[in-house]
Amino acid sequence: MLEAVWLIPALPLTGFAVLLLAGRRLGDPKAGWLATAMMGGSFIATVVVFVGLLDRSEEHRSYVHTLFSWVPAGRLNVDVGFLVDPLSMAMALFVTGVATLIHLYSIGYMHGDDRYATFFVYLNLFAFSMLMLVLADNFLLTFLGWEGVGACSYFLVSFWFERPAAATAGKKAFIVNRVGDFGFMVAMFLIFATFGSLQYADVLGPGLTVVSSGTAAAIALLLFLGATGKSAQLPLYIWLPDAMEGPTPVSALIHAATMVTAGVFLMVRINPILGVAGDTTLSIIAWVGVLTAFFAATIACAQNDIKKVLAYSTVSQLGYMFLAVGCGAYVAAVFHMITHAFFKALLFLGAGSVIHGMHDEQDMKKMGGLRKWLPITSSTFIVGWLAISGVPPFAGFWSKDDILANAWDKSLPLWIIGLITAGLTAYYMGRQVFLVFFGDERWKDGAEAHGAHGDMKPHESPWTMWVPLVVLAVGATFGGLLNLPFHGWEFLHSWLEPVLGDRLHELTIGGDTELALALTAVALVFVGMGIAWLVYLGHKLRQEAMEPLVLRRAWYVDPLYASVVEKPGRVLADFSAYVFDKRIIDGAVNGVAGLVRLGGGRLRSVQTGYVRNYALVIAAGAVLLLAYMVSRVGI
């Protein structure tokens, strides 16, 4: 059954090809259904392969299926081949699953858009790329997927390209990602130079023993640079909030559930290298992760755009995952990745449903009290809220708890910051829920003021949209079951064991400590929710005081980048193009031509037209020759 692995990416690819050629003719909604069907098929194929893998004994749960040789050059040989192992299957399962749901959701969400079919073209292409990323059996093919998802992200973020903001955001996403890709590429070069191969089997296998920890650290950090780009970590996170310009399903699929987790996946994939690389490398990863988590959380507290909050929240949650990786808790990372995929996709889709229902209004300050109008959306959204906040027994609690425990195990500051971030998360998510679903129906003021939309009423979404919400809500609720911290319930842990081997992290702390930590976290979560309630429902505290400008402006990071990178770059480029290139380099070329002309002009003035002048020159020439001859003879 494992041979069917090629079907997993092939189906979305087929969907892409068919839609590309005939999408316009299929139209709305057939194109969407086709894409969804392909995605569903892919999910089924994944399940089939998964079952096939389950059949195998633990030590044989790694299977490579090679399709054809892709780039054979010199000593390099890269195949198009798929690696079926527990990690890739775990990823593939949730990717195809979530993607199928979001495809389904999009059928309704994108209904009526001019470029309906095109949207699904991109979506299918994205799914294909993501699956290549996950299933690849070598770095280069992963990079293909890596870049492919980046490109699709670009297409989809700038899907509504008429809006300058969307276009800019798409471009920004791609370019910032490219900065990360730089790291990925150099890492691959280094891997090739070190191992002579880019196959995971060669690099992560027995060959690893010959590598010095310095080289390994370099490889790991370079790949981590790639990961910070793709997974929106400091300092390259800036593209993700902007990427919210894309349609909401895109945000849910790409910028919450799947693509942004690719960095985490990559880190987990190379865990043997991280193992060799040593503690410093891991600490760097952990600190970047936790700082990102905290930093993004603070910004999320003061955003008014419903999707921006979720975006910063995503950045923050991804930070958690890297914290986990940095602590060596790969299972926790994957665990959180999966639960996060459920609840964050849920939240995004919920937000999309709200936006849909509010006729494309995204400002939370103009919402409120939507609970009555959007019952399904609001209830599922609240489930998502509880999950992300880490309220037991929702999925988020278990995975976040796992990470925090590991952080505690590694170092106290990490734990403290992680803990504060958990509180902040509860606070800003609470703020969001209260602003959107509770309190006054502020949207009425706006509607009245404008008059035109006087009859606007929020409305619930069609079934294609709410069914995914419900499914995801179920996942967000019970996702924790995948890896409960009780003996015998650690399914994910044992599933990933073949991949992680001896790097499988065992907590050194006792069950009591773990419980205490969990209780502390839960307490803090409730404090955060409480403050949110006080501010946004109870009106006990002034909202403005809680939303300082510096946070609303996201710590002025974008202006900072603009003045530190963009502006000098611009000046440099202008100088290069219009001064250096035009004046100096080309000037030299034209200068030579000018010099010839000038010389010609000067010489020309010798040619006076007077015969006697000419004769003088002849005579002078003769005298010169004579002088030379005299010098030959000697005076």
Binding site: T608, Y610, R612, A619, A620, A622, V623, L626, A627, V633
Partner: protein
């Protein structure tokens, strides 16, 4: 005696040469040229080139200078030239420098080995026999070809003179004056 002849003839030659250059009136120049030619003829005689001396006087003085004078008269250019004025800046000093260096150069090169060459390759000049017959033998043996070829030169001179002097019928028919002022458009700016 030889020295005296050389001195007198040489002085005449140089004086004539300078006269050609310095005389403001072209007619005077022509007359000074005659002086030089005679001087050179005397120097020829002094060096046993009797035939050449005769030819020099006959051809040069008798024909060439006369031709010059004819042309001077024909063109009516016998007015004096203002020699104090030189329209071309720097021409005179440069000419002087060139001349000085030129003379110096030639003299420096010639000073040591005046008769380095092989002797009497083209026939002995001294000894018995007249200069005329020796020259004749040389002309009709060693220099036969050159001698014959001079005829071509003369043909060209004749044809050239005819071409240059003739008024063409066609031109007259068409009312185009062949002598129409060649420099009609040229301003006289350069003339003094």
């Amino acid at each position: 005696m030889d020295w005296a002849i050389f001195a007198i003839a040489g002085a005449a030659t140089l004086a004539g040469g300078l006269g050609v250059v310095l005389a403001a009136n072209p007619v005077h120049s022509a007359l000074m040229l005659v002086m030089t030619l005679f001087g050179v003829a005397v120097l020829f005689v002094a060096q046993q080139a009797h035939f050449l001396a005769a030819v020099q006087v006959i051809v040069y003085a008798g024909a060439i200078v006369v031709l010059f004078l004819f042309v001077i008269m024909l063109l009516g250019v016998d007015r004096s030239e203002d020699l104090r004025y030189e329209p071309l800046k720097g021409q005179r000093p440069l000419a002087a420098i060139t001349a000085a260096l030129g003379v110096a150069g030639v003299l420096l090169l010639a000073r040591s080995d005046l008769d380095a060459g092989e002797r009497s390759v083209g026939g002995i000049a001294s000894g018995p026999g007249s200069n005329v017959s020796k020259l004749a033998e040389s002309l009709f043996t060693r220099y036969l070809l050159a001698f014959e070829v001079t005829s071509v030169l003369l043909v060209i001179a004749v044809v050239g003179a005819v071409v240059l002097a003739r008024r063409t019928r066609e031109n007259e028919e068409e009312g185009i004056d062949p002598e129409s002022d060649a420099f009609a458009d040229e301003s006289q700016a350069v003339s003094p």
